[in-house]
Point group: C2
Chain length 440, copies 2
């Protein structure tokens, strides 16, 4: 961040380097943590940075509001639910502004509306259509730390919307894009992106840099650090993302455009256990049948993933795909209708699977990665059920019971192991934070 | 309310009778109570009324938010505090709209901003400057029950304000005035205005009708049912107010313009124990001294009430006045400065007083009320410390220990006793509500 000031806004006066810093609910769960975040922001401002904080709701308060809503109406109208949930971030932003004020710095909190975050009218899953950043810019020029409510915006007609999963990260990146900020920092309870989930692979290492594309593939493959939407916006607007811990000053992971001539072949390995494999048995094998089957499934609104069609035998075939286990109930009517109308004998769903994905931009120029992966798994006697690939990713579906072994074998087999072994702690968040803070 | 439809808005279509119904925090404290309020609103709409509900925050949630703010910043910036507190009503309005939806009716919740409530920029004690009621009107025309967040509005520059004490009542009356509503109903945990506080005077009776002026005098004299601000707005815009219980269908008290040729001499008796008597001793008795003393006191921003100046003795006099006991600390610098600069020997504050007020429009045409009041108190051997009067009110300050006796003696002496004796209950709010609902 030792960069020259940003002169792009000559007409209205010069702003120093702009940093957008996003804090998740865990980092803001208690007054003490709010104070710590405030200290961090004030110290950033004292380093002559223009500081915008984007906040989630405190701790689990969104869940509490949701429970309250459901106790009153099992199917709350989406406009009212969005209006209700948006208060969570509004409480948090006002409290953070108060905490900054208590440290003697100037702050102003802005709701999604006040921050100029315009969205589509799709309540509970709105998309940001535009950022009108004049107000934020004016407050920064007045020397204030600007605290923006994440996760929310307004429709053209002025009603409040929420952005759905990953919403606050997306707000932060979109605000950074709108302000042409120098960097967007994502603070959370993890200190960066790892080569694999350290709970599964104790020798996983933190990556210093990763490209947007690799991060997207990792996110899509089950790595939970960043939500895909925010990475997509960052990539589209070339906003550098820096993922780091809210509880320490340790370095994190920078997500940016691919720059190295020779990238690491494999950046990371992800494991996703949230999906099930659905197999439709004995589908008549004639032209257009797959279109028919997946047309019905698409109508259910469920996002499906890997698709495999077996070789036909006796004029019929099995079609398998993966889908989020949580969406199986929504999928059932489509499957029943396929069985009812196509003369298909039946279907089965198996939740006991894991999807293991290797991701790396270097894969493009290194042939044989898939073969090496299958070889490593074969040596461990792990059976591969399904395979899918992209330019920088190879995914396999295996028995969930073997996931941990497969992860470790692949991590070692592709030379990703660090010398340090990650120790799983049973510390509470508070203890963990205290331990991490000691290192400051 | 069996009135003709309101045709004043011919251009945009005809709306039936408009009712604005305000519900306090106790009436909305739990999901079950929200449901009950929703039922009441839906049943009003089914009687072909246009229904606007104005809500406070649920239960004690405003206090909870305030405590949270103070745990973070002992002197929270007022803009941020208003922003924080405003979420309480926003949560409540969304939940009530959901509860109405659950009953199969259509509802829409509107924040102060969306309801067009424009205020001054005096954070935490803003005044409503204008109601832009187009949105409410449009939602009513679309057949929706409109739920408006009380206690809040926006400044001309678009920041959220709160209205301070009595804010939600004031919102309701102002919205009723803006809509030219037929009536503004104030639902709370009391079922109307009484001739005296039933806890002090067990034979107190509920008044069926009272004039704005009488209600103002009662509110100013310590009767807590309605806040003065809301009654003033109601009087200025001739909005009939109906105070009633949220927990029963019993009749309440109508507050409206004085209409009877011969009003009751005394409508009610109020007792205020929240004030202290401050006496400044030995003030030099020369012209302009009172102006000097009360100029210094006015600078402290404390509202003082009854003022008595004793007859001068030896070139010096005692000056007494009453002020809210809670404000004594704020008053102290002014008093110290009076002692320091005017050669005054000292002052004393006495919190052990009660102000008893008789209020009644009929007083204007009935001489001798004051004499009768003093006579009644004298018979009880109750000493009168200070006296002040208006056209329709007489107030006396007495020893707080004698307040209950004085109230009962005056209530009986002015023929206000009902035949029914009010039984003080030790029921919880829930039990009280259940008992009251049985009568439906």
């Amino acid at each position: 961040m030792a960069r020259e000031p940003n002169f792009e806004d000559q007409a209205g006066g010069v702003l120093p380097c702009i940093v957008v810093a996003k804090f998740g609910g865990t980092s803001l769960a208690t007054p003490e943590r709010l104070r710590r975040v405030a200290e961090r922001l004030v110290s950033m401002q004292r380093q002559n940075l223009s500081v915008v904080a984007v906040v989630s709701a405190m701790g689990k308060s969104t869940d509490d509001l949701m429970r309250l809503a459901l106790s009153i109406n099992a199917h709350p109208p989406s406009r009212e639910l969005d209006r209700l949930l948006a208060t969570g971030e509004q409480v948090c932003m006002a409290l953070l502004a108060m905490a900054i004020d208590a440290l003697g710095a100037c702050a102003v909190s802005l709701s999604g509306r006040q921050a100029g975050i315009l969205t589509t009218a799709a309540y509970s899953k709105a998309h940001i259509s535009e950022i009108k950043a004049e107000r934020i810019r004016a407050e920064l020029k007045a020397g204030r730390i600007v605290v923006v409510a994440g996760f929310q915006g307004i429709t053209p007609s002025g009603d409040i919307t929420t952005l759905g999963r990953g919403g606050s990260d997306t707000t932060a990146v979109a605000v950074a894009a709108g302000l042409k900020a120098d960097i967007c920092e994502i603070y959370s309870d993890v200190d960066g992106v790892y080569s694999a989930d350290p709970r599964l692979v104790p020798r996983a290492r933190r990556l210093e840099v990763i490209s947007y594309e690799e991060m997207l593939e990792l996110a899509a493959s089950g790595a939970g650090v960043l939500h895909m939407r925010s990475v997509e916006v960052a990539r589209n607007f070339k906003v550098p993302l820096y993922c780091r811990s809210a509880f320490s000053d340790e370095p994190g992971t920078l997500v940016r455009e691919e720059q190295d001539m020779e990238s690491a072949i494999i950046s990371g390995i992800a494991c996703d256990r949230s999906e099930s494999k659905v197999t439709i048995r004995g589908v008549p094998d004639h032209i257009g049948i797959a279109a028919e089957v997946f047309g019905l499934i698409a109508d259910s609104g469920v996002n499906i993933d890997m698709i495999v069609q077996n070789v036909s035998a006796g004029g019929a075939t099995d079609i398998s795909f993966t889908a989020p286990t949580n969406d199986l109930e929504r999928l059932r009517p489509a499957l029943d209708s396929i069985v009812g109308t196509m003369g298909v004998p039946g279907y089965a769903a198996d939740a006991g699977i894991a999807k293991i994905s290797l991701v790396g931009a270097g894969m493009r120029s290194s042939p044989g990665i898939a073969a090496r992966m299958f070889h490593i798994l074969a040596k461990e006697a792990i059976n591969i059920d399904m395979i899918s690939t992209s330019a920088i990713r190879i995914s396999v579906v295996i028995d969930a019971a073997r996931a941990s072994e497969a992860m470790q074998a692949l991590h070692t087999g592709f030379d990703l192991d660090s010398e340090q072994v990650f120790e799983e702690t049973s510390l509470s968040n508070e203890e963990l934070a205290a331990k991490m803070l000691k290192g400051r």
